[in-house]
Symmetry: C2
C-alpha cells in the first residue's frame, strides 16, 4: 500500500464518458488501497481546498459513475498562466497538496490541463516536494496532440452521426411540400472533427449529410449556395452539417455574422446553423429547418460509443498505474496499431508534447471539393463510434444516472485570498 | 381473401415510430392476403396517382420499417379544404381509387388527416363508391382529441426527458465558472405536451428542469427573470425548457421577437431558446447556452419509448382490421384503463370526433406557479416514455435503418391538371 493521497480533478467541457475515466481512476486506486480525493470544480477545488472524499461513495456508486454523463465532481474553465505570472496560485496548489499529503495529481482535461499539470510538476520539483503529475486526456473536440483520439470524442461523434442520419430520414419524408434544407450545427471552434463524424451517417454524395462545412476550409457563400441548390435539384433535399467555427476567407467567424445587437440593443446570440438557414431561405427560397444540439451532443451518454467508453476507462486506469509507478509529467494516450481490425493500446506520452498543442484534421481527411470526408477519414473515424454501451434504465424510462454524495474533506488551511 | 386494394398514406410531420405503424398495416394486410399500395408523399401521391407497390418489399424490409424513423413513403403538408372548395381534388382521389380498385383508405396523420379521410368517405358515399376510410393517429404534439395519447409522442417525450436530464448534468458540472443558464427548446406550437415531458427528467423544484414555459400560460418576462435568478442563487444553475409556442399576455409569440430582419434586410430566423438566452444574458448577466433539437426530437428512433412503439404498431394493425370489417370513418384510438399498472387498449372512435379538434393539456397538469408539472401530469406522462426499444446497430456503429425500394405502380389515368 503506497503512502499518500491521490488527487483527481476534472477540467474544461465535460463529456459523456469523463466520469467513466473517473470510475477507472477510483476503482484502480481502491484496488491498490490508495486514498482518492477529488477536487470540486476542477483546479478551483484544489485552490480553494474544496476537496471531496471519494471513499464515502459506495462501490455501486462508483460503478454507476461509468454510465453517468457530465462531470460528477464539477469541472471548471480556468487556465493558469505561466509559473511567473501565476506563481501565487501554483504555490497555493502545493500548499494544499502538502496539507492533504497529495503525492499523485491526476488532471483530466484537454491541452490547457496538460499544461497546468506540467507546470505543477515543475514547481513541485523546484520545491523538492515529491509529486507525480499525470494528465488524463478528455475532449469531445478530439484536438489533443499525440493521442490517436480523445476520450469523449467517440461518443459525441456517434451522437452526431446517428442524429444526422435520423433527421435526414425526417427531411427526406417532408421535402416534397415542406423542408428542403436542414442545417445541423456541430461543435468544433477550430477543428472540424465532429462535423467530419457526421459524414459517417451516409455514403456517397447523394446520401446525407450532403454538405459538411469545416473550419479548416474558408466558407464561400456563393459556392455553398450553388452546392445547396444543386443538391436540392438532384436529391430533392439537402442536409448540411456546419462546424460552429467556420470562417470566411478573411478570417471572420460566420457565427458572429448572425449575432450582435438588434435595433433595441438586445443581444442576438450568434449561431452558424441559424445564420446559414436564414441566408439559404432568403437567397434560394427554400423552406429550412436547423438544429443546434449544443451540450446534448457531449452529454448523450445514452448513445455512447463502446469503443470510446472502453478507452475512457482505460486511460483512467493507466493514469493511476503510471502515477503509482512515479512516471511524472506523462499522459496515457491512445495508440492505434491497426484500422481493420481496429486495435489500440495505451502508452505514456510526455505532457510537454501534449500541452498547448492543438491537433487539426489532416488535409487528407477532407474531400477535394471541401464539402465531405475522404475514405481515409472514414477509416479513422468509424472504429471510434463502434459499439453500443447503453446505461441501465429505470422503470420510469430514464437512465439511472448517479448523483454522488460529494462529501467535503475538512479544510486545514486558511482560505486563499482571491 | 377480401377483394380490392388497401391504400396507405402518411401525412404531416413524421415521427420516430410512424413507420412502425406502417409496418403494422402492411404485415396485417399481408397476413390477410390484401394488396397494399402506399401513396408517395401522402395525399399528394394519391392525387398524382404516384402509388408505391409495397408487395415489392421483402418481409425483412417491412420488419425493419418498425425500427426506422422518418416517413418511408414520404409525407406531406397539404390540407384539403371543404368538399365544396376542393371538390376537384376530392373527385380526383376517387378517380385514382377506382382506377386501382382501392376499397380501403388508411390515412396516418393528425387532425387534418382525420378530416381529409372523413371527407373522402363522405364523397365516396355520395357517389356510391364502396370505400372504407380509416384514420390512423400520429403526432409528436400529442394534441389529437379522443385518443389518450398519440403514437409518436411517447418517443419524442422520452427523447426530451432523457436529453434534458443529460444536459442538466453537463450544466451542473460547468456552472461554477461557466454556463449558469441553459435553455432547451421543445416542439409544441399550441400545446405544451413535449415541454411537460421534460418535467420527467427531475423531481422537485431543485432538480432540472427548474423552469418549464408552457404555451398554455402567458410568458411574463419579469417574473421569469426573477425565477431564473432565484434558481441560480439557490441551486447554482438553472435549466429552462421552453415550448416553441409560448406567447406574451397580449398574444404575441415570443419566438417572433427573436426573428425578423436585421439591418441588412437579412432574415433572422426566430427561436424561443436563442431569444430567451439572449435576454437572460443581457438582463441577468449569466453565461447561457441553449439547444434547439428541432427534427432530432421527433426522429430519434434510437431512443424510442417501448410503450410508444407498441402503440404505434397496434394502431396500424387495428386500422387494417377495422377497414376490412368495413368500419368506415373511424380511427383506432388508445384508451387508458389504468395508470398504475399502466393498461391500455385500442378502440374505434368516429373520425368526426377527432377531425379538426386540438387537445390542450388539462389545467391540472401545470403547477400552480405555471413553471412545472403536477403529480397528475407525471402519472399521465410517465408510462408513455417507459421501456426501451433500440434499433439493431450495424458494425459501423449506426442503426440499421432500412430504405425501401418504393417501386411505383404503373399509372392508368391522365395526369391531374394542377
Amino acid at each position: 500500500m503506497p503512502s499518500g493521497t491521490l488527487l483527481y480533478a476534472q477540467s474544461g467541457g465535460v463529456t459523456a464518458v469523463i466520469n467513466a475515466t473517473a470510475a477507472g481512476v477510483i476503482e484502480t486506486a481502491r484496488a491498490r488501497k490508495v486514498k482518492v480525493l477529488a477536487a470540486r470544480n476542477g483546479i478551483l477545488g484544489a485552490l480553494r481546498e474544496d476537496l471531496i472524499d471519494t471513499s464515502r461513495e459506495s462501490a455501486a456508486a462508483i460503478r454507476a459513475l461509468a454510465h453517468t454523463p457530465g462531470g460528477a465532481f464539477g469541472s471548471c474553465r480556468v487556465k493558469l498562466k505561466s509559473l511567473d505570472q501565476d506563481r501565487v496560485r501554483y504555490e497555493r496548489l502545493l500548499d494544499v497538496f502538502r496539507a492533504h499529503d497529495v503525492r499523485w495529481f491526476l488532471y483530466n482535461g484537454g491541452n490547457d490541463s496538460a499544461d497546468t499539470a506540467l507546470k505543477v510538476s515543475q514547481l513541485a520539483a523546484e520545491f523538492g516536494y515529491p509529486l507525480t503529475c499525470v494528465g488524463v486526456p478528455k475532449t469531445v473536440d478530439n484536438d489533443l496532440a499525440v493521442t490517436d483520439c480523445c476520450p469523449g470524442f467517440g461518443s459525441a461523434a456517434k451522437y452526431t452521426a446517428v442524429s444526422v442520419r435520423e433527421c435526414a430520414l425526417d427531411v427526406a419524408a417532408m421535402a416534397d411540400t415542406s423542408t428542403k434544407v436542414f442545417v445541423y450545427e456541430a461543435m468544433g471552434r477550430h477543428a472540424g472533427w465532429l462535423a467530419a463524424a457526421a459524414g459517417l451517417a451516409g455514403q456517397g454524395v447523394d446520401e446525407a449529410p450532403h454538405l459538411i462545412l469545416f473550419p479548416e476550409r474558408p466558407y464561400d457563400e456563393a459556392d455553398f449556395f450553388a452546392k445547396v441548390k444543386a443538391t436540392v435539384e438532384r436529391v430533392g433535399y439537402c442536409v448540411v452539417v456546419a462546424s460552429e467555427g467556420i470562417q470566411t476567407a478573411d478570417g471572420r467567424f460566420v457565427a458572429d455574422a448572425g449575432g450582435g445587437k438588434d435595433s433595441f440593443g438586445h443581444t442576438q446570440l450568434g449561431g452558424v446553423a441559424s445564420f446559414l438557414a436564414g441566408r439559404v431561405k432568403d437567397s434560394l427560397g427554400y423552406k429550412v429547418h436547423w438544429a443546434l444540439p449544443d451540450y446534448l451532443q457531449r452529454s448523450a451518454r445514452h448513445l455512447a460509443s463502446k469503443t470510446d467508453l472502453e478507452q475512457a476507462q482505460a486511460v483512467g486506469r493507466k493514469a493511476v498505474e503510471y502515477a503509482l509507478k512515479g512516471m511524472n509529467s506523462v499522459m496515457p494516450v491512445i495508440v492505434r496499431s491497426s484500422d481493420s481490425p481496429y486495435r489500440w493500446k495505451i502508452e505514456p506520452a510526455p505532457l510537454s508534447k501534449v500541452a498547448n498543442h492543438e491537433k487539426k484534421m489532416p488535409a487528407g481527411f477532407i474531400r477535394k471539393d471541401g464539402y465531405g470526408i475522404t475514405p481515409a477519414a472514414r477509416r479513422y473515424l468509424e472504429p471510434l463510434i463502434r459499439g453500443e454501451a447503453p446505461p441501465p434504465y429505470g422503470r420510469d424510462g430514464i437512465p439511472k444516472y448517479v448523483t454522488l454524495k460529494n462529501v467535503a474533506v475538512r479544510k486545514k488551511l486558511t482560505p486563499l485570498e482571491t
